[in-house]
């Protein structure tokens, strides 16, 4: 016989103080995932992330298409960062096919991937702003992101799904006087980033909310296997662009952004510092880029790789993004395993949220630089 509760809030059991909240998948603070959070009062007792609502089977789809046809659908998980997600795939296929990429194409790739990192980070920053109730920080990056998208559109012909990187180079050359346009845009972009610093990162309310919450220590960060900005905010100097330079990153002068605090504030600040550093990378790449030359190597219509295994990874907006490609000599990949930073970062969420206030949940959750669609692949 069940107990009749009076009208009012009904807990799971009458004698328990613990209440279960299903935050997501239909919730303004969840993204395409569910967080099963148990709260005692306003304190979080346990958190169980439940991703998988937008799984699309990208890896399985890749087994039925040849190396070139895989390009348009592989960028779908993160359309805001579509150059970076194609980067490891192109590197792996080039290694498998034994293709040498022209020098100019390598620089164009670096520029496109850094612009794309900024586009992604602006989107992420906007959502971080609205998660903390800062609506201006939602609107400003969304507006300024359009200018960078315009640059990429002039470069690739598409706004977000560029399909720009292909095995053997890039799809097309950059338009004439592209360099001036990029430089003009970058100076405006850096000016705006300083305004973001004033209104958002130096905001006393934001600092009081995020500093000292969800602290991830250096040891835990290494043990839990987080990557990218989350790892670098915990004091680990690990940037794949420095540690395992791909294409021409070893020719370019830039610094890795590392913070020591490991709290939500540091985690939210490292992508911002990365954006500033991306501007320097783009400037440096523009000066060192060969002024003329081919940008792609003509591949055979249906290229076959040798029966081999390749693993290449790059530093994307969300951390290390690796592609493990197994070929058995046919035109299609035998197996493509995508290892994404989003999924590896969300693993540490239950550890960070335990004992925190419910009000800290959005600040900690979105500071992990997590993209639900990419994590589900």
């Amino acid at each position: 016989m069940t107990t009749q509760f009076p009208p009012g809030i009904q807990l799971e059991k009458e004698d328990e103080r613990i209440m279960t909240l299903n935050i997501g998948p239909q919730h303004p603070g969840s993204g395409h995932m569910r967080l099963i959070i148990k709260v005692d009062g306003d304190y979080i007792v346990s958190c169980d992330p439940d991703p998988g609502y937008v799984h699309r089977g990208e890896e399985k789809m890749a087994e039925h298409r040849n190396y070139l046809l895989n390009i348009p659908h592989l960028e779908r998980p993160v359309i805001h960062d579509s150059c970076n997600i194609l980067y490891p795939y192109c590197l792996a296929v080039e290694e498998l096919l034994g293709t040498e990429v022209p020098e100019r194409a390598k620089y164009i790739r670096v520029i496109a991937s850094e612009l794309n990192r900024c586009v992604y980070t602006m989107y992420w920053l906007g959502i971080y702003g609205i998660f903390l109730g800062h609506s201006t920080m939602f609107m400003w990056p969304m507006a300024d992101r359009e200018l960078l998208i315009d640059l990429l559109e002039a470069m690739t012909g598409a706004r977000v799904t560029h399909s720009f990187f292909i095995p053997g180079g890039v799809r097309n050359d950059v338009p004439p006087n592209f360099e001036d346009r990029v430089l003009r845009q970058l100076s405006y972009f850096e000016k705006r980033l300083k305004e973001y610093e004033d209104i958002f990162y130096q905001n006393p309310v934001l600092k009081s909310r995020t500093e000292g919450t969800g602290i991830l220590s250096r040891e835990d960060a290494i043990r839990l296997g987080v990557t990218g900005s989350v790892l670098r905010s915990a004091g680990v100097d690990f940037d794949l662009r420095k540690k395992e330079p791909y294409d021409v990153y070893d020719n370019i002068d830039f610094e890795t952004q590392v913070l020591k605090e490991g709290d939500s504030y540091a985690r939210s600040r490292v992508p911002y510092l990365d954006m500033l550093e991306s501007c320097n990378i783009i400037r440096d790449a523009l000066t060192k880029m060969p002024t003329s030359g081919s940008v792609r190597v003509k591949l055979k219509p249906n290229p076959k790789g040798s029966a081999d295994e390749v693993y290449r990874r790059v530093e994307s907006g969300r951390g290390s993004l690796g592609m493990y490609l197994v070929s058995n000599g046919t035109p299609q990949p035998y197996r493509l395993k995508i290892s994404v930073g989003s999924f590896r970062n969300i693993i540490c969420l239950p550890y960070l949220l335990k004992g925190e206030l419910l009000g800290n949940m959005p600040a900690v959750y979105w500071s992990l630089n997590y993209w639900p669609v990419e994590a589900d692949r």
Partner: protein, 433 residues
Amino acid sequence: MSTIAPKFRLGHFIASLTDNIFWGVVLFTLIGLPIVFIVLFLIELPEIDGKLLSPYLAVTYIADPSRTLPIIQSLIQTDFFKIVAFPGFGFAALIAGATIFIERKFLAKIQLRPGPFYCGKVEGILQLMADGLKLISKEIIIPAKADKPIFWAAPVLFVATAAAFVSLIPVAPGWVVADLDVGLIAVFAIIGFFPIITILVSWAANSKFPFIGGIRALHQMVSFEIPLILSLLGIVILTGTLNLSEIVASQAGIWWIVFLPIGAIVFFISILAELERIPFDLPEAESEIVAGWLTEFSGMMYGLVQLGSYVKLYAFAGLFVTLFLGGWHGPMVVPPFPEEIITEGITMGPISIKIPGLPLFSQEMLNGTLWFVIKTMGVIMVILLPRGVFPRIRIDLLLHVGWYKLIGLCFLNLFIALGLIYGGVLGPEGFIQ
């Protein structure tokens, strides 16, 4: 051919018109005229301006509209008009609507976007009406296990409490619905109702997110009511009255914000918390608890709560103006009503207009209302501004601010007020009167 009425024929249209006229005349003769005579026979009609109000006199108003002036003037002086229209709810709702429009455009300008743009052709000025129509036409969904009577009653109660709050605010000299000698205590009493309604809603909705939001709202409102009340005691000490009209009258020279800036700041921060506005919008924190205690409201129930919260915003801004910014005081800007219009009339070409009665509103009233509205809109703009600048604060920091910092500042404010009295600066024997 028109697509609206594809089978339109003029003959049918004229036939339908004559049909309607015929039935109107028949019904009026059979039912309307007997009712008019019953009314004339049974009910004693008021005597206005020396003439008995009768239907025949009312018909003559059509010929000469200026004859309705005495009626309008006697209507304006009734309590009904004060409650419904001018210093009461209608005026407050109008300012609330203007506030919503200003908030949207003002925030949009801060955030590099145009804001409402299409509805109403001119800068989206009819967007609020469109939103209201949308809310009215939406289905009202009540949770299955909700406590229905309380859940239904809550939005109405919220608006009614906000309207009761509005009735205490003096807009112009003599223009206040309830001119109480204990006005400030009545304000505190009415503010005390809002947390009760909030917690009733959140409990009655029988849902988790409203419950958390309601508990948060309760924490917030209760802990900020204390600094809210304490910050106003300085003014009570200096003026020696609780009547809001007298408090305004005492600021004819210098406004109280000059002497009590700390009290004004504390009161302003407490207003933000009481109104659940950013950075204190924890009860409606959408990224944590959906919409807080408003989550289960739908359709016009949500619309009523929003209307109530904007009316409450106006009332708090008006209270701030009343207490700290000198209420209706300000230099005369409205020109006085010329006497010649009453005695001689205005001649405009072939038509001459004569207004036989007195002017409807006095110069003081128009001037006071103008200054009151200007100051109130200024305060409202400052209340709206943090939404573009600050993120949401956390609950522990909120309680820390409320209980630890603001109450301390309140006592500092009280000491300043006492110092002004005993130092001989203000008060009955002070050198500033």
